[in-house]
Symmetry: C2
Subunit: 309 residues, 2 copies
């Protein structure tokens, strides 16, 4: 039996997991992300934690197939990585991990790794290809075909949050453009759609008595049948479905998987999105299943291990 490490590097913590070759998660733990000094200590901290865990379990180098790591940025072919939130610019993370641990290391963007995780052991298990859309603070994504991630020529493959879905938008997205999917289908986008709907009508709604109207409040109210919340949810799903239909006409995956914080809304989100998607999608893709991601915050470590194994 061989083992592999999956690492999900985030701005606050580094999530780490020890996996069997077959995809069983044996152990998981976290360390704090030290962003001081341009994040220069991060590779050493991660490598140290892995060596410590190997020692604790009595694992030798020969027992381990290596380390997979997801980075909140770009990992280039030479093994260096950029990550704005960590202060990283061409940090040789892959080489450092290998130098310190003696193990092979592979890396990719964290959204791609999450897609790989859902493909390997999560909501998309058993499908030959999938697109993961992550609905969080922003909207991210990853595209997996034949077990490989479509990274793109500029590492922007799967940047689904920046599909233009509203040519008439006047406000700017965080990326600087106008009308990106992320402006509507992110958690913050959902909250904004809610604020706009509340301001532009006098319709009664449970949301009017909520102190902070966020995506969760909208979906909770929608689930309990609140008419205005259902209208907001419908508008949210219109945008999401438009993005999914665009993705399907481009890459035509076997499954569409929805993850990220907003996906905790669950079945109602999937059903409302799927209904609208069926209207917008190209005929050959109308029956493509829309599924919930199932690995939650562990998708990243699963995917990092999968990329390795």
């Amino acid at each position: 039996m061989k083992y592999g490490f999956g690492v999900d590097l985030g701005g606050t913590t580094v999530k780490m997991g020890l996996f069997t070759q077959e995809g069983e998660l044996l152990d998981k733990w976290e360390i704090a992300t030290d962003t001081s000094e341009g994040g220069k200590n991060i590779p050493r901290d991660m490598a140290g934690s892995i060596l410590f865990r190997m020692e604790g379990r009595g694992l030798k180098k020969d027992d381990c197939l290596g380390i997979g790591i997801g980075v909140p940025g770009q990992v280039w072919d030479d093994g260096t990585a950029d990550a704005v939130n960590l202060g990283w610019k061409r940090v040789p993370v892959i080489g450092e991990l290998t130098r310190i641990t003696g193990l092979r290391a592979v890396g990719d963007n964290d959204a791609n790794m999450a897609a790989m995780g859902e493909y390997w052991q999560g909501g998309g298990k058993g499908y030959s290809s999938l697109v993961l859309v992550t609905l969080g603070t922003g909207v991210g994504g990853g595209i997996i075909f034949d077990g490989k991630c479509l990274r793109g020529a500029h590492r922007a493959g799967g940047e689904l949050g920046h599909i233009p879905v509203n040519p008439r938008e006047t406000r700017r997205c965080g990326c600087g453009n106008r009308g990106c999917l992320e402006q509507y289908a992110s958690a913050t986008g959902c909250a904004r759609l809610a604020r706009e709907a509340l301001a532009s009508s006098d319709a009664p709604s449970a949301l009017r008595s909520v102190e902070k109207v966020d995506a969760r409040a909208v979906w909770d109210a929608a689930k309990s049948g609140d008419a205005l919340a259902l209208e907001i949810a419908g508008r949210y799903c219109d945008y999401l479905a438009l993005g999914l239909a665009s993705v399907a006409a481009t890459v035509d995956p076997e499954a569409l998987v929805i993850g990220g914080g907003v996906s905790r809304a669950g079945g109602i989100l999937i059903e409302m999105t799927a209904r609208r998607y069926r209207e917008l999608a190209f005929n050959a893709c109308k029956d493509t299943p829309i599924l919930l991601a199932s690995l939650g915050n562990d998708a990243g470590i699963y995917g990092a291990a999968a990329a390795l194994l």
Copy 2:
């Protein structure tokens, strides 16, 4: 030196080419497409023409690497093909070609083959990945990464004409949906944009004296500086750029290549589209080159040969 045959099966004619392994087109010819009796004679006609050409050139079976064929429909893993315009439903075209000629045969959708052709020897030569968008009667496309075509789970990969670009459209696309890219960026879409612009304003335009306002007339007038034609062309490019930006945020190719009849408009089409694309595309993809396809009607036979060689 080994040789290969590239075949582009169309509804009226079958285009055929004899290629060297290096990609040189030695000879090309056409035969009529016999759509009688559900198109059942087509495989035999194509195989016969190839055998005849081999004999004429003194080529033995061992000199030939096989036959690549592009079909105006879907080619399935079992070697059968569907093609509405030919009356084909699960026709075992790959098996028939091999049985009659004794040569290996491979097949794919014609739009994918055209993309492969432009990648191999055309406008996208030298790029590691590309997306071809074909602006003809309809809008088609093909996506090539690492020398392989992204066919999709339902053979709908690269169906770029059916990316939804206008959620407010009330008219239906040929596919039954509303607001597909094809409704605007096809030659017929361009002509419709022109008719609408002419009807909704009194602005003088050279187009008012044109008997049949088609895409060509619009672009000819735009090139000579006609203000209304430039406005129509601008609207056309808005939609096309939106589709390209959507594709780029999804798969992030190294190059975007524009082919099909409307692409004969040339530089002005590329420049106007690129300008709008730079505004809409995700940052990492803003500089992705937008190029003209260069193989014209031969893209299909080049790509079919490339898929083989």
